[in-house]
């Protein structure tokens, strides 16, 4: 095993951006406050100085305008990284993403590629209330023509962008802002990671915890605690929400026979709805009990901490649920 280094989620993303910018002149970053402010969440701090204003572009508050421009630049041969400050503002750019980025290849009968990468900060946990706390992965994962990634680990923070830049098709990347300060170890030579498959982060035989994004570290923590109580949990990080890799989680369920899906997005019509449907469709006869899920409570996210915490699954919820499932 190679040497490990300690790195924050923020630093990992930043190194990824630097990597792709250094390797390919066609790459440039455009977003609100990415340059002079140093990045709304300090991700791009120092990059303006390193790469110049031509390649680190501060844009006005025109989500539709600059996302569309990113799409146009991609059409014309550049490799733009469009940063939407948070997913909460992405609705303003939805028309460009859904009616242009995801459709141009198809509408033109295969003539036009849109190799644009759109990064969006998301997640909940800072008491930012209803309009600033959305988990809209399901909205984007619904659209054919988009590749939708969820960065749930530091390895992925370091490596997903590198692979996304190689894609000839539009990629939407969800980054979790509350994890930015979190420090973990990754291999010193960590680099590009593939962006087609889900990953088993922890093997187990009693139950499959299937999750993505903010749920990943929570599930890993829960799995540790469960291990001490004699329950051996397997943790599957979906990573690619569209096109979804079902093989990995189906294989997991076939092995463990029980499954719990964990996500922060609102429950109805969510990623878990899709995952569970597929398990029902293709692994029904391997199930030893109904598949369950822990999702965001269907309420606009409230401001006070205790209510905010109660509106999404926590590690303790996962523990309780698993124990209930396996020891009724």
């Amino acid at each position: 095993m190679s040497d490990m280094i300690k790195i924050t989620y923020r630093e990992a993303i930043k190194q990824a951006i630097r990597d792709v910018m250094q390797k390919d002149e066609r790459v440039f970053l455009m977003g609100e406050d990415v340059g002079n402010y140093g990045g709304a969440f300090a991700v791009s701090k120092g990059l303006l100085k390193e790469f110049g204003a031509d390649r680190i572009m501060d844009v006005p508050l025109s989500e539709s305008g600059f996302t569309g421009a990113g799409i146009g630049a991609a059409l014309a041969g550049m490799k733009p990284i469009v940063e939407v400050m948070t997913v909460n503002f992405s609705l303003l750019a939805m028309d460009q993403i859904v009616n242009n980025a995801s459709t141009l290849l198809h509408m033109s009968g295969g003539q036009l590629n849109v190799p644009v990468v759109i990064r969006m900060g998301c997640g909940i946990g800072r008491q930012l209330a209803a309009q600033h706390s959305h988990s809209w992965e399901p909205f984007f994962a619904h659209v054919p023509g988009l590749i939708v990634l969820s960065v749930g680990t530091h390895e992925d923070a370091r490596g997903m962008l590198l692979s996304a830049m190689q894609s000839p098709d539009p990629v939407v990347i969800f980054e979790y802002t509350f994890m930015l300060n979190l420090e973990k170890e990754i291999p010193a030579d960590a680099g590009a990671v593939e962006i087609k498959k889900a990953k088993v982060l922890r093997e187990g035989k009693d139950i499959s915890l299937i999750t993505y994004g903010a749920g990943v570290y929570k599930c890993l923590e829960a799995a540790e605690a469960l291990g001490e109580e004699g329950i051996d949990a397997e943790v599957v990080d979906l990573r690619v929400l569209r096109p979804m890799d079902e093989e990995t989680f189906l294989a997991s369920v076939k092995k463990t026979h029980r499954a719990l899906v964990v996500e922060e997005a609102w429950k109805s019509v969510s990623i878990s709805s899709e995952v569970i449907s597929r398990i029902m469709e293709k692994a029904f006869f391997d199930l030893d009990g109904p598949v369950e899920r822990l999702c965001g409570v269907e309420v606009p996210i409230p401001y006070p901490k205790h209510l905010e915490d109660a509106s999404i699954p926590q590690v303790s919820d996962i523990l309780e649920k698993v124990k209930k499932m396996l020891k009724p």
């Binding site: 305008g65 990113g70 146009g72 550049m78 733009p80 028309d95 509408m107 590629n113 000839p168």
Partner: protein, 334 residues
Amino acid sequence: MKKAKIMEKKQKLDAKEGQRLLQQMILIRRFEEKSAEEYTKSKIRGFLHLYTGEEAVAVGVIQALTEEDNILCTYREHGHALARGVDPNAIMAEMYGKQEGCSKGRGGSMHLFDATKNFFGGNAIVSGHLPVSVGMALAAKKQKKNNVTCCFFGEGAAAEGEFHESMNLAALWEVPVLFVSENNLYAMGTSIKLTHSVQQLEKKGPAYGIESAAVDGMDLLAVMEATAKAVKTIKEKGKPYFLVCNTYRFRAHSMFDAELYREKSEVEEWKKKDPIPKFQEFLLKGKLITAKKITEIEKAADAQIQEAIEFAENGTWEDTENLTRFVYSETESI
């Protein structure tokens, strides 16, 4: 004064070019008429938006563009595609839905694309392509290319947020985009009087720091002159330009439209300004064409369109098995 002006125009235009331009407008006019007919026979389905009456704008603007320039249009784009040199056979086949169409039949009337001609649609969300055009111009600037991105849209689009964002971005970033607003006075069925607080659209450009002008869109020569100036400005200054072409569509918004929103008399008035007879007269007077030649051009256009119909009729349907193609690229990376 007027005579001198006509003489001036005559000097700039030679017979060959003049005939070519007339041929283009006639081809567009007849192609659109034929498309209407095919639609009533259910050969063409979905929505069909015809360009009848507005030919001078597409022809007048596009003649000033080079092969390297990019063109983006609305869903009323058949005329622009033809003026750009997209194969009429491929256009008709596309409208028929056959896989020999320019978008492999996947797009239909509203989504004509031809990457070889830098013709980027065929866009059906009003003003949705404006930011994209700004982005293409931005890329050109970064790549240090000398091309222009020409973005056509209607006056209805100028009310959308994307128009304002795009104008601001284009001016802010100083990119070589030519915004062309084809003001035909009606956004589907709503008069410009009911949609714009400031109806002289060219006044909106300067608010964003963009040089702007308005021109009579029924006068081919005027459009050509205005476009020449616009393109020159863009290439010299590297800044965007906003050209408003005041024109009129003689037909309804789309096939299934009872035109309850405008008077027939108004249509008749505008028909008197029909750009085709107007230009024909100019050419005849300037002895740049003969009546016989005009007839030849008309016949040739009809023949070309008939060929396109046959091509479309004989075209093939894409296999349903291939339905999920073109969701993602078939190549790994670029």
